[in-house]
Symmetry: C2
């Protein structure tokens, strides 16, 4: 089957580094779904405002695939090393949400926040800016929700969070960053964006989001922001 | 993006008529996921047994698309008439799970029941026998489950069920049908397989499942089975 791009995702994740590894209801990050001219038809969205959540079916880009530190192409591999397992344990690709799949399709449930000029505004999408979208479906709780599902190896890692401190966060510094971008960055950093389990407190990371670069280190379960600057 | 078929679904739904309209946890219907030779690799499933539920991403076939009484091809339309709304009210295609989408991709959460000879056995899939599968992902409750999601127009129709009675069900008749096929048929009939809201108690329907043909009528909220015969 040949998939046609119906829309593109637009958000502050211009850098692959920092994209949350799964969609999360509590994510404040907004994404705009901008339809391609052929699919920008008001009628096609009739009734969608009655749903609180939607599914996005989208494509991993070559760029995004590098997040996991895997091969530099979208070739698939029968086993992958999930970052949440420290990057040194192999799991079957169909037991993970890794991008290195036979068909590099991503699946994310997002919250429908609003509609504007024929675009959809959603929150919680774990996608790079410019990600191609292939389908949008309503989320149906009676079919799609399994609150008590067993989450395999992901279970024990699902609530890992880092405390975010430092420059402009716990220290009052005026970087000029807008409130919204700062709130998003705090969320992104709390999710531990480091590739695999790198555990070197001296290592400085830089992450771009919404036109801002944040510099930080990680000590134990604490992110210490060193600087926030306009790109 | 060009999708490669990684597996085919095998189940008793050799007839498009009778396939439940969504996947449901309570569905007893078993489907076997048979991998194509290139993807039949034990390693690719390592760790999958730790998950209770999986996602299937699959393709609507031309045949299946006829279920909804829509156009006789997979052309998409900005609006569709959901059968659950009586087939006479138009909704935007992205507000429905209709097959007549720009990319005719289906999405179903299923329960992982077992593994056998490198195949996966799942329950609850709402797919035709022979459906191509493009991806299999683990279901992650912390990301995918939204118990309180608002279901739009689908909400008020989600629990509609018919009572199943008659030949071989409430009347003791020995058709020779195996226990398992009968249990599945009772479930299928309870879901009201009629296209749209046809409401003619005199109209006799025939449905094929697992090599058996069931003949039935519907009176109000009651299915009356007239006959069960081997095809």
């Amino acid at each position: 089957m040949e998939l046609k791009v119906i829309a593109y995702a637009r958000n502050g994740h211009t850098d692959k580094f920092g994209i949350p590894r799964q969609s999360r209801d509590e994510s404040p990050i907004l994404t705009r779904i901008v339809f391609e001219p052929e699919y920008k038809i008001a009628e096609a969205l009739r009734g969608i405002e009655g749903y609180s959540h939607l599914w996005l079916i989208w494509g991993f880009s070559k760029n995004q695939s590098e997040i996991s530190g895997g091969p530099n192409s979208l070739d698939w591999s029968p086993t992958v090393r999930p970052p949440r397992l420290g990057g040194n344990k192999r799991m079957g690709v169909f037991a993970t949400r890794s991008p290195f799949r036979p068909n590099p399709i991503g699946l994310s449930s997002v919250r429908l926040v609003g509609m504007e000029n024929g675009d959809l505004i959603v929150s919680g999408a774990d996608v790079l800016d410019g990600t191609p979208i292939y389908d949008i479906k309503p989320y149906l709780s009676f079919s799609d929700s399994h609150e008590d599902a067993q989450n395999g190896f992901a279970e024990e890692h699902k609530d890992e969070r880092l405390e975010v401190t430092g420059y402009g966060i716990t220290e009052s510094r005026d970087s000029g960053i807008p409130e919204e971008a700062l709130r998003d960055l705090e969320y992104i950093l709390s999710q531990d964006p480091r590739p695999g389990y790198q555990d070197d407190p001296a290592r400085e990371y830089k992450l771009d989001y919404m036109g801002w670069t944040v510099t930080f280190v990680v000590e134990g379960a604490k992110v210490i922001v060193r600087k926030i600057e306009k790109i």
